[in-house]
Symmetry: C2
Subunit: 67 residues, 2 copies
């Protein structure tokens, strides 16, 4: 089990949170995605370590930026 934390900018509402959660959840091996809207903190729990590039791509796909 692996947990990694990221900061995402540009999220303004719960729809944004849902989009980011959905895109990151589609990465193979991801078990859980927790997003804190006020801070932009995103915690990704996975079976094995996930490539930060994969997370970055997923965040971009959702329309937001990774710090």
């Amino acid at each position: 089990m692996s947990t990694a934390s990221y900061t995402v900018t540009g999220m303004t509402c719960q729809h944004c949170v849902a989009s980011v959660t959905e895109e990151i959840s589609e990465i193979a091996g991801v078990i859980d995605v927790a997003v804190d809207l006020p801070t932009g903190a995103v915690t990704v729990t996975s079976d094995d370590e996930i490539s930060p590039d994969a997370v970055r791509d997923a965040v971009h796909e959702a329309g937001y930026q990774l710090v």
Copy 2:
């Protein structure tokens, strides 16, 4: 054909715009819904006049407020 304008508060992103557009579009007789995110201006075009209460209910259903 009838056109009415409203102001909606609380929309922060295009997801919010999509939610408001979708809910108002479900009102019987509505032909077009145009939302301007920066100002919150919502223009509703319909076959006949739509009850402002119906628009208010739709906006509430989407999670926002009508001024």
